[in-house]
C-alpha cells in the first residue's frame, strides 16, 4: 500500500493546458488533477476536448501552453516517451495490441524473457499466467489474443500497462463494446488497481457507469474546464447541466407558440419507425416551417434518428409518409428523391469531397438528384455556386477553390448550400454548429431560422441546449436510444430538457444502488 498522504503532490497534475489546431481551439486553460488511488471520470460531449486532453497529457500532441506534472515532476511538452517512463499508460477503446500474437507474447512484447538470445517461451507463459491471475483471469496464454473476447483483450492491455509499472492508467471508453457482465469484471479490476494506489482516468459516456465506479468527475465542454466534483455530491441533473448547458440562464423558445404549429401542414411523418439495436421505434411529425430539435446525450440515439429519417439507415419496422403518402426510405437516394437533405456531424468524412471545388460540392446533390443524363451545364453550375456563395457568405468567395481548404464553418455552409440547391422540403442537420468559430456559429443559427420562415421543415441535432431552445418549435428528448419526451411551446426550456434527459436514468441508478 502506498496511499500517499494529503500533503504529497497529486499523482498527475495538469495546469492551464491549451491546444489549438489551426483556428480551432481544442483546449483552453484546462486543469485536471488525479490523485493516487482514485478513479476519476473525464466527461464531456463529442468535441469537448477529452481525447485532446489525453493526447496532450500522454505527449502524443505537443501542448501550446500549460504544465503537466507527474508525482510533482514536470514533464516536457513534447515527450511521449517521458510520459510513458513516468508511468502513464493508456488503453483505448480499440485495443492496440496484436491479435495475431499470443496473449503471453502481447504481455511481454519488446521485453520477452531471454536466455542466450532465445526467447524463453515457457518462462514467459508462466509469468503471463501469474500476471493475469492477479486480474482474476485464468486463460490459455499461449492462444492468440484475437481468439478472445474484447473484454479479455482489454484486461490483457490493462495488465500489460500495469505491469509496465504504470502509476496512471487512462481508460478511454473501455466499456463501449463490453456487455454487462464484462463491465463488472473490468470494474472489479479497476477497483483493485485503485486500492494499489494507481490513479485511473475513466472516459465514458455511460453516466450510470460513471456513478457506479468513479470517485470524482471532471467535466469539459467546448475545450474548457466546466468543473471538478465529488461524484457522491453531484446530482445527475447537475452533471448533465454541466455537460450540456452553456449557462444556467433559462432561455425560452423565441419561436412560435404551441398553438400556432398545430395548424401547419405535416411535411413528413414517421410512425413506429425504428430499427432493432439502433433506435427504438418512435413517432415523429415534421411540419413545414417548423424546427424540431433533437436533444440528448452522446449515444442517446440522436444521430441514429437522423440517419433513419434521411434513409441513410434502413428501418426494420414502421411507416414513413411524405406529404401524407407512404414512402420507402431505403437509401440516401430515396431520401434525396423525396426532397430530404442531411448534413452529417462528421463533415470531413461524411460531408465534403475535399478535393473537389466549392462549386462541385454545392451542385453534387442536385446533380445526383437530376440523374446522369441531365447534366448541369457549366454555366448553370457557376450560377448556382455564385448564388449560394453570396447568400451564405461563404469565404473565400471563390467557387473554384477546393473545399478542403476552407474553414470548418465555411465547409458547413457549403454543405448547407448543397442541400438548399436541391430545393428540399426537409433538412436534417446533425450538430450544424460543432467545431466552427463563434461568428459562423451565430450565422448558421440565423440561417436555420430564416430557412424555417421560408417554409422548410428542419430537424436539428445539437448538444448545445440553449441553442436548441432558441430555434426549436418542438424538442424531442432522447435517452438510451429511445425517444422519451416531446416538448412544445412554453414547455421548451433548458431545465425541462435536462429533467427529461436525467429523469429515468436517475431512477435506474437509485435502483442499482439499492
Amino acid at each position: 500500500m502506498e496511499n500517499s498522504p494529503d500533503s504529497a503532490p497529486p499523482l498527475l497534475e495538469v495546469r492551464g493546458i491549451s491546444k489549438s489546431f489551426g483556428a480551432v481551439r481544442a483546449l483552453q486553460e484546462v486543469d485536471f488533477t488525479l490523485r493516487a488511488g482514485e478513479i476519476h471520470a473525464l466527461l464531456g460531449e463529442n468535441g469537448a476536448g477529452k481525447s485532446t486532453l489525453i493526447k496532450v497529457v500522454t505527449g502524443v500532441f505537443p501542448r501550446d501552453a500549460g504544465i503537466v506534472r507527474i508525482g510533482g515532476e514536470e514533464i516536457a511538452p513534447r515527450a511521449a516517451k517521458a510520459a510513458l517512463a513516468a508511468g502513464i499508460a493508456t488503453v483505448y477503446q480499440e485495443v492496440n495490441l496484436l491479435p495475431n500474437l499470443s496473449v503471453a507474447q502481447n504481455l511481454f512484447l519488446d521485453r520477452q524473457p531471454m536466455r542466450f538470445g532465445i526467447v524463453r517461451e515457457s518462462d514467459m507463459r508462466r509469468r503471463a499466467k501469474a500476471l493475469l491471475a492477479d486480474f482474476g483471469l485464468d486463460i490459455d496464454v499461449a492462444a492468440l489474443l484475437g481468439s478472445y473476447s474484447v473484454a479479455i483483450q482489454h484486461v490483457t492491455a490493462i495488465a500489460r500497462a500495469v505491469d509496465l509499472s504504470a502509476r496512471v492508467l487512462i481508460l478511454d471508453e473501455p466499456t463501449a463494446s463490453l456487455d454487462r457482465h464484462e463491465v463488472e469484471i473490468l470494474f472489479g479490476i479497476m477497483r483493485q488497481l485503485a486500492k494499489r494506489g494507481i490513479g485511473i482516468v475513466f472516459v465514458s459516456h455511460f453516466l450510470d457507469q460513471v456513478y457506479e465506479i468513479s470517485d470524482r468527475i471532471t467535466v469539459l465542454r467546448n475545450g474548457r474546464l466546466v468543473g471538478e466534483r465529488e461524484t457522491g455530491s453531484l446530482p445527475r441533473l447537475e452533471l448533465i447541466r454541466m455537460m450540456l448547458g452553456r449557462e444556467l440562464a433559462e432561455t425560452t423558445s423565441a419561436r412560435a407558440s404551441a398553438g400556432e404549429h398545430r395548424a401547419r401542414e405535416v411535411c413528413a411523418s414517421f410512425e413506429n419507425y425504428g430499427k432493432a439495436g439502433y433506435v427504438a421505434p418512435f413517432n415523429l411529425e415534421l411540419r413545414h416551417g417548423e424546427v424540431v430539435g433533437l436533444a440528448g446525450l452522446l449515444g442517446s440515439g440522436r444521430t441514429e434518428t437522423a440517419r433513419l429519417v434521411f434513409g441513410a439507415e434502413r428501418a426494420d419496422g414502421g411507416l414513413a409518409r411524405v406529404e401524407g403518402a407512404p414512402v420507402r426510405l431505403q437509401s440516401p437516394r430515396d431520401g434525396v428523391r423525396h426532397g430530404f437533405g442531411y448534413c452529417p456531424e462528421e463533415r470531413k468524412t461524411d460531408g465534403i469531397v475535399a478535393e473537389l471545388t466549392v462549386r462541385e460540392n454545392i451542385v453534387l446533390a442536385l446533380q445526383a438528384k437530376r440523374g446522369l443524363h441531365r447534366p448541369l451545364s457549366r454555366r448553370e453550375q457557376d450560377e448556382i455556386a455564385r448564388r449560394y456563395v453570396k447568400m451564405l457568405d461563404i469565404r473565400p468567395a471563390d467557387p473554384e477553390r477546393p473545399v478542403g481548404l476552407l474553414s470548418g464553418g465555411n465547409q458547413q455552409k457549403v454543405l448547407l448550400a448543397r442541400w438548399l440547391a436541391t430545393s428540399p422540403r426537409l433538412l436534417v442537420l446533425d450538430e450544424p454548429t460543432r467545431g466552427i468559430d463563434v461568428g459562423a456559429h451565430a450565422e448558421i443559427i440565423r440561417l436555420i431560422r430564416e430557412l424555417c420562415d421560408d417554409g422548410l421543415s428542419l430537424l436539428v441535432i445539437s448538444s448545445e441546449l440553449d441553442e436548441i431552445v432558441t430555434y426549436s418549435d418542438r424538442v424531442v428528448v432522447l435517452r438510451d436510444r429511445a425517444h422519451v419526451e416531446e416538448l412544445a411551446g412554453e414547455a421548451i426550456d433548458v431545465g425541462n430538457i435536462l429533467a427529461a434527459i436525467a429523469a429515468d436514468g436517475a431512477a435506474a441508478a437509485h435502483e442499482a444502488h439499492a
Binding site: D350, V353, L364, A365, A368, G371
Partner: protein
C-alpha cells in the same frame, strides 16, 4: 472543357516533347513521314499504332482508378477477347466477331464490378481473380494453341488504314472522343470524381456510388476487349499466353503518369492517353537507338520513380512550403 485538358497537363506535354527530342537524337529519321498505299508510315505513326492497346486500356483504367479502384485483369481480358475474336474470325462476319468479343469484355467488367461494388471486395484482390483465371479461360478457348485466322475483315482492323491513319489509331481516337463525350458530356465525370474523392459523402449526397463503380469496371472491360481484338488482328492470331501480358501495369503506369492519383478523385482522360503515348515513345526510342530492350525496363522504372516522387505528398508538401515562403517574401 478545362476538365478534359487541365492546366496541369503541362508537365506531361513537356515530358513527351523531351522524350521525342531524345528520340530524334538517337534516330534522325524519327519525324519522317511518308504516304504509301493510302497509309502513313514513319516512326511517329508507329508510336501511335503500337501504343493503341495501352492507350485503350488506360482509357478504361483511368475511370476505374478515379473511383479509387484498380483493374489488374485487363491484360487477361485482352487475351480472352482476342482468343474469342480469332476463333470466330474465319467462320463469322465481322459484326458477330466484334459483338462476341466486346460482349465478353463487358461480361468480364460486370464480374469485376460486381465483386467490387456489390460484394465490397478490395479492387486489387477482386480483379486479381480474373487476372489469374482470365488467362486460363483464354487458353481454354484457344485449346492451348496459337489460333490464327485469315479473315480479311479482321486483318483490316489491325493493319488497314482510314484517311491515312492505321485503323487501330483511328479506333483509339474514336474511343477517346466517345469516352470523353459520355463522361464529360453527362454528369458521369463529376459523380465519378465525387465517388473516388469521398464515397461515403457522395453516397449521403444521393450519388449512386455502386452504379458508378459498376459502370467504370464495365467500361474498362469493354476497352480491354477492344484492345484485345486489335492486338489479335495485328498479328493475325491469338496467343493466350502472351496477348496483353503485363499490359495492365503499363495501363496503370499511363494513368499515373497522366496525373490521376491512385487514391481516386480527379482524373483526366486525355492525360492518361498521353501517358500511354509517353510510354510508347520511350519504348520505340529505345528500340530505334539499338540499345538492348532490357534498357527499356530500366528507363521505365526511372520514369515511374520520377512521376511518383513528383506526386508524393511529402514532396508536394515541401514544394507547397517553398511556394508559401516565396509568396511571403514577395
Amino acid at each position: 472543357m478545362t476538365a478534359l485538358l487541365p492546366r496541369r497537363g503541362l508537365a506531361q506535354i513537356l515530358a513527351l516533347i523531351v522524350i521525342l527530342a531524345v528520340d530524334r537524337v538517337v534516330s534522325p529519321q524519327f519525324f519522317d513521314l511518308r504516304l504509301q498505299d493510302g497509309r502513313l508510315f514513319g516512326s511517329l505513326i508507329d508510336v501511335l499504332n503500337r501504343g493503341t492497346p495501352v492507350a485503350l486500356l488506360s482509357l478504361g483504367m483511368v475511370l476505374v482508378i478515379a473511383t479509387r479502384g484498380i483493374d489488374l485483369s485487363v491484360g487477361a481480358v485482352m487475351a480472352i477477347c482476342g482468343a474469342i475474336a480469332a476463333s470466330l474470325a474465319d467462320t463469322h462476319s465481322l459484326p458477330v466477331v466484334l459483338a462476341a468479343a466486346l460482349g465478353a469484355g463487358l461480361a468480364c467488367g460486370l464480374w469485376n464490378g460486381f465483386l467490387v461494388a456489390v460484394l465490397g471486395m478490395q479492387p486489387i484482390v477482386a480483379t486479381l481473380i480474373l487476372m489469374v483465371a482470365g488467362r486460363g479461360i483464354a487458353q481454354l478457348i484457344t485449346e492451348g494453341r496459337i489460333v490464327t485466322f485469315s479473315s480479311p475483315d479482321l486483318v483490316w482492323l489491325g493493319n488497314g488504314a482510314v484517311l491515312g491513319l492505321p485503323v487501330p489509331v483511328a479506333i483509339a481516337l474514336g474511343m477517346v472522343i466517345l469516352t470523353g463525350v459520355v463522361v464529360r458530356g453527362s454528369a458521369l465525370g463529376l459523380l465519378i470524381e465525387a465517388t473516388g474523392g469521398n464515397a461515403r459523402a457522395s453516397e449521403l449526397a444521393g450519388v449512386g456510388t455502386r452504379a458508378m463503380i459498376l459502370a467504370v469496371y464495365v467500361w474498362c472491360g469493354v476497352c480491354a476487349a477492344l484492345a484485345g481484338v486489335i492486338a489479335a488482328a495485328d498479328i493475325m492470331g491469338a496467343d493466350a499466353n502472351n496477348a496483353g501480358l503485363w499490359l495492365e501495369l503499363d495501363a496503370i503506369l499511363a494513368v499515373v503518369i497522366g496525373g490521376t492519383s491512385l487514391f481516386g478523385g480527379r482524373f483526366s482522360l486525355v492525360l492518361a492517353v498521353l501517358g500511354a503515348l509517353i510510354i510508347q515513345t520511350m519504348n520505340t526510342g529505345i528500340l530505334l537507338s539499338g540499345y538492348p530492350p532490357e534498357f527499356n525496363l530500366l528507363v521505365k522504372a526511372v520514369v515511374v520513380l520520377a512521376v511518383l516522387l513528383l506526386q508524393s505528398p511529402k514532396l508536394t508538401g515541401f514544394a507547397g512550403i517553398v511556394a508559401r515562403l516565396r509568396r511571403t517574401k514577395a
